[in-house]
C-alpha cells in the first residue's frame, strides 16, 4: 500500500509554568492510503496533539520541535503558512468532538459546508451544493436534499456530528482526523455516527486518524491501533490482534471489562425501603402540558445501588432534583422512611437534608476553587454535627483515609488535585454528612476509564462498609452493569422498565431497553457490522425512539 503520511520522531512541546514541557516525546506515525489508524489513550496521552500535528498544526501555546512530518511526499514541518493553508481543509480535514460547539449557529449547514471548497477555489457554490446532497445521502442523513438548509440548532446532535463529517469530506481529502467524534453523544446516537463514518471512509477510500479513549469504539473503525500514554507509544498493532492479544500491561488494563459485580441478597422487603418516590410528575414551567417527569414510582432500599438509565433529555437528572427538593413536583410525593418530605428545599429541616447527598458529574464545578479540602470536607461536619477545631480536622483525616487520599491533601486547593482526586473529595464531602442515600449524577463520565474504575470500586467498598444506598444516574451501560443492583430505564420522562439488574438485562426486553443494550459497543471488531445487520433484518429504525 502506498504511504500517505509519515511522522518521524514527532516531538511537541507545550508552554506551561514559564518553560517548555514535552507533550509528545518522539512518536512515529505511519498512515497508508485508505487506512484507518486508531489513536487511543487517556487524557494527557497526547493523542489529540498528534492528530493536529498531522497537518503541522498545534494548539495555542504548543510547538512542534521535530523531526519530520511528510505528507504525500511533501515535508510539512517548517513549511510556510501559505503552503499549509492550501493543504489544510482540502487534503487533510478535521472533525472535532463537539459539533454543537464547532458550527456557527448563525449560518445554515450548507453554507458552512461550502466554505472550504469555495474558499480554496475548488468548486463554486452550486457544485458544492450538489456534492453536499450526495454526501449527506451517503451519510444516511434524513432528507438529504433539504437538510443542508437548516440551521445547526434545527438538527439533532447525531445529525450535526454527521453534518460535520460531511463538511470534512467536502474537498474529498486524503486524510480525515476524527477527534473523539462520538464522545459527547448518547449510545443510540453514537452507533449511527459510527456507522456513517465507517461507510464514508470506505466509499471514498479516505485515510483517517481516529482519536478516542474508548477501545470498544475504535475497534469497530480502525484497521490499526496505537496505544499512547504520556506522549509515548505503548503498543501498536493491527486492531484485531491488539484486542485478541494485548502485549503490554497498560493495554490489558484498558481492555479489561469492568468486573465489579458481586452477589448480594436482593430479596424485596418492605422495611428496608429508605426512599420511596410515589406517582411523581414534574415540569419546569409548572404546567400540566409539558411534563418532564410523568408518574414516576421508585423505591430505594438500604445498602443497594439503583441505576437510573436513560439518554439525555429522558428526565433522569430532573428526578434527582425532585428528590433533593430543588424542583418541587406537581404531583406525588417523596417519602423518606415512611414520612413524606416537604416538597420544597426551603421547608426541609437540616436533618432531612443531611440524609441525601449529591455527587456531581463535573468535579471541577462541584468544588469551590477558593476552598481548601479542609473547608470542603470540614464544612458539612461543622454544619451538621457542630464539630470544631482539632475534632473536625481529625474527622477530615479519617475521611481522607476512607477515600484513599494522603493526609497532606487537607491543605490543598481543588486546582492542585487531579480529576479523579477531586471526585474523591466530592465523595468525602457527601460522606461527611453520614447520609443514608447518595445521589450520584454521572460521577464517572468526565473521568478517564482507569480513574473511573477506581472511583466505582471506592463507591462499592464504601457501600459495603457503611450500608449507604446509591441512586446512580448514568447513560453508560457498562457502568450500570458493573455497579448496580437494580435498574430503572427511563425514556422521555417515563419509566419503561425497572427491576433487579439481572432481570432487566435478561430478555425479554422492552424494545427501548433492547435498543439501548444493543447500542453499547463491544470489544469485538465485528460488533458494529453484526448489530447493523441484525437491525436491518428486524427492521428497527434507529431514530424512531429518539425523534418521535
Amino acid at each position: 500500500m502506498t504511504e500517505i503520511l509519515r511522522m518521524t520522531k514527532l516531538k511537541i512541546e507545550g508552554f506551561s509554568d514559564e518553560q517548555w514541557v514535552p507533550i509528545v516525546k518522539g512518536v512515529d506515525v505511519r498512515l497508508d492510503k485508505g487506512e484507518v489508524l486508531g489513536l487511543i489513550g487517556e487524557s494527557g496521552a497526547g493523542k489529540s496533539t498528534i492528530g493536529l500535528a498531522s497537518m503541522a498544526y498545534t494548539r495555542m501555546g504548543c510547538r512542534i520541535t521535530g523531526d519530520s512530518i511528510v505528507f504525500d511526499g511533501m515535508e510539512l514541518f517548517g513549511a510556510d503558512e501559505e503552503f499549509l493553508r492550501k493543504i489544510r481543509g482540502t487534503r487533510i480535514a478535521y472533525v472535532a468532538q463537539s459539533a454543537a460547539g464547532s458550527f456557527n449557529p448563525a449560518h445554515r449547514l450548507i453554507k458552512q459546508y461550502a466554505e472550504a471548497p469555495v474558499q480554496h477555489g475548488i468548486m463554486n457554490f452550486d457544485e458544492a451544493e450538489k456534492k453536499a446532497v450526495d454526501i449527506y445521502r451517503r451519510l444516511l442523513l434524513p432528507d438529504p436534499e433539504r437538510i443542508g438548509y437548516r440551521y445547526p440548532h434545527q438538527v439533532s446532535g447525531g445529525q450535526l456530528q454527521r453534518a460535520m463529517v460531511a463538511m470534512a469530506m467536502a474537498c474529498t481529502p486524503d486524510i480525515i482526523i476524527f477527534d473523539e467524534p462520538t464522545t459527547a453523544l448518547d449510545v443510540t446516537t453514537q452507533i449511527e455516527v459510527l456507522a456513517a463514518i465507517k461507510k464514508i471512509t470506505r466509499e471514498f477510500n479516505t485515510a483517517a486518524l481516529y482519536i478516542t479513549h474508548d477501545l470498544a469504539v475504535v475497534a469497530q473503525i480502525a484497521d490499526r491501533i496505537m496505544v499512547l500514554r504520556y506522549g509515548e507509544l505503548v503498543e501498536e498493532n493491527n486492531a484485531r490482534e491488539i484486542i485478541a492479544s494485548p502485549k503490554e500491561e497498560y493495554t490489558r488494563a484498558l481492555l479489561s471489562v469492568r468486573t465489579l459485580t458481586e452477589h448480594k441478597d436482593l430479596s424485596e422487603s418492605e422495611k428496608d425501603i429508605i426512599l420511596d418516590v410515589r406517582d411523581v410528575s414534574a415540569s419546569y414551567s409548572g404546567k400540566q402540558t409539558d411534563l418532564v417527569l410523568e408518574d414516576i414510582n421508585l423505591k430505594i432500599r438500604r445498602g443497594r445501588t439503583v441505576a437510573l438509565v436513560g439518554e439525555s433529555g429522558s428526565g433522569k437528572s430532573t428526578l434527582a432534583r425532585v428528590i433533593t427538593g430543588l424542583l418541587p413536583p406537581l404531583k406525588g410525593e417523596v417519602i423518606y422512611e415512611g414520612k413524606a418530605l416537604p416538597p420544597a428545599l426551603k421547608n426541609r429541616t437540616r436533618e432531612m437534608l443531611r440524609l441525601a447527598q449529591m455527587i456531581y458529574q463535573m468535579p471541577d464545578t462541584a468544588l469551590n476553587p477558593r476552598h481548601k479540602v479542609r473547608m470542603v470536607i470540614g464544612r458539612p461536619l461543622a454544619f451538621y454535627f457542630g464539630m470544631r477545631g482539632q475534632e473536625r480536622d481529625n474527622r477530615v483525616y479519617e475521611l481522607l483515609e476512607q477515600i484513599e487520599l494522603p493526609r497532606k491533601y487537607i491543605d490543598r486547593y481543588p486546582n492542585e488535585l487531579s480529576g479523579g482526586e477531586k471526585q474523591r473529595v466530592c465523595i468525602a464531602r457527601s460522606l461527611a454528612a453520614k447520609p443514608d442515600l447518595i445521589i450520584c449524577d454521572e460521577p464517572t463520565s468526565a473521568l478517564d476509564q482507569l480513574v473511573a474504575e477506581g472511583i466505582l470500586k471506592l463507591l462499592q467498598e464504601l457501600q459495603n462498609e457503611l450500608r449507604v444506598s446509591y441512586l446512580f444516574i448514568t447513560h453508560d451501560l457498562a457502568t450500570v452493569k458493573a455497579i448496580s443492583d437494580e435498574m430503572v430505564v427511563m425514556l422521555k420522562g417515563r419509566i419503561v422498565e425497572q427491576g433487579v439488574k439481572k432481570d432487566v438485562l435478561a430478555p425479554p426486553h422492552h424494545e427501548y431497553t433492547e435498543l439501548l443494550l444493543s447500542s453499547v459497543p463491544e470489544m469485538d471488531p465485528d460488533w458494529l457490522d453484526n448489530v447493523l445487520e441484525e437491525r436491518k433484518r428486524k427492521g428497527i429504525k434507529m431514530q424512531e425512539f429518539v425523534q418521535s
Binding site: L326, L345, R348, L353, Y360, T365, A366, P369, H371
Partner: protein, 274 residues
C-alpha cells in the same frame, strides 16, 4: 507575614505601583510637616515659574502649588477612597442579594437601579446636592450611591454566573443560609472582576468630583483637590504655563499606581484559578 512573602515574589511592576501609592499615602498623612506653606496662604504673584521658594510655582491666586498638591492628596485620596469603598459595599451586597435570591427581590432591585441609571449621573448629582447642600459627607454619599448602580450591575452579573455552579447548589442542598452562600461561596470567586473594577471606579471618582467642582457643587474652595486645581488653573495653558499639568500629573500618577497593584492582584487570583 503572608503578605511579606507575597511581596517578595511580586513582579517589578507591582513594587513600582506600591511605591507610587505609598508616596501618596505618605503625603496625605504627614501633610502639615511636608508642606512648606499652609493650604490657603497667598505667597506670591500669580502663576510664578518654578523656583527654589516655590518648587512647582504658584497657582492662579498666587498660592504655592507644591503645598496645595500635598493638601490635595489628603482630600482627594481620602474622599475618593471612602466613596469607592462605600459604593462597592452597597453595590456588591445588593447585587449578590439579587443574584442569589432571584425572583421578586431581583426584579425590584434591578428595576430600581434601572430608574436611577436612567438619569444622567451628573445632572442627578447636581439635583441632589443642590437640595441637601454641598458638605463633604453629602458629596461622598451621593457619589457612592450613584456609582454603586454600576457596581451593582457588575456584581449581579458575575454572581449569577457563579450562582449556577454546582458547588453553590451543593451548599444550598446542605441547607446553608444566604449569607454563607454570598460570603463564602460567591464572593471569593467574584473577586477578580470586582477588584479590576475597583481600580477603574477609583479613578472615575476623581474625575467626577472634579466635574462637580467645576460646576461649583464639589469640594468647595479654598479646600484643595486635584480635580478642582486642574480646572482652576486650566486657563494657564493658553499662556504656555505648565501649572495645570501638575495636579493632572498627580491624578495620573496615583491612577497608574492603583492599577499596577490591581493588575498584580488579578495575576495572583488567576494563578489560583487554573
Amino acid at each position: 507575614m503572608a503578605f511579606l512573602k507575597l511581596l517578595r515574589q511580586s513582579p517589578l511592576s507591582a513594587r513600582i505601583g506600591l511605591a507610587m501609592i505609598l508616596i501618596n499615602v505618605f503625603a496625605a498623612i504627614f501633610t502639615p510637616w511636608i508642606a512648606p506653606y499652609t493650604e490657603t496662604e497667598v505667597v506670591g504673584d500669580v502663576w510664578l515659574e518654578m523656583s527654589r521658594d516655590h518648587l512647582l510655582g504658584t497657582d492662579h491666586l498666587g498660592r504655592d502649588m507644591f503645598t496645595r498638591l500635598i493638601y490635595g492628596a489628603r482630600n482627594t485620596i481620602a474622599i475618593a477612597f471612602i466613596t469607592t469603598i462605600l459604593s462597592f459595599l452597597v453595590g456588591i451586597i445588593c447585587g449578590f442579594f439579587a443574584a442569589t435570591l432571584g425572583g421578586w427581590t431581583d426584579q425590584f432591585l434591578s428595576r430600581f437601579i434601572d430608574i436611577l441609571m436612567a438619569f444622567p449621573t451628573l445632572i442627578f448629582a447636581l439635583m441632589v446636592l443642590s437640595v441637601v447642600g454641598t458638605s463633604i459627607a453629602a458629596l461622598i454619599v451621593v457619589i457612592a450611591l450613584l456609582d454603586s448602580t454600576r457596581v451593582y450591575r457588575l456584581s449581579r452579573a458575575v454572581a449569577m454566573d457563579i450562582e449556577v455552579m454546582e458547588y453553590v447548589e451543593a451548599a444550598r442542598l446542605r441547607g446553608e443560609g444566604i449569607w454563607w452562600i454570598m460570603r463564602r461561596e460567591i464572593l471569593p470567586n467574584a473577586m477578580p472582576p470586582l477588584v479590576a473594577e475597583f481600580g477603574l471606579r477609583f479613578c472615575f471618582v476623581f474625575l467626577f468630583i472634579a466635574a462637580l467642582s467645576f460646576l461649583g457643587l464639589g469640594i468647595q474652595p479654598p479646600t484643595a483637590d486635584w480635580g478642582g486645581m486642574v480646572r482652576e488653573n486650566a486657563g494657564a495653558i493658553t499662556f504656555g504655563i505648565l501649572t495645570p499639568l501638575f495636579p493632572a500629573g498627580a491624578i495620573a500618577f496615583l491612577t497608574v499606581g492603583v492599577n499596577l497593584i490591581v493588575d498584580w492582584f488579578l495575576h495572583i487570583a488567576s494563578g489560583l484559578k487554573d
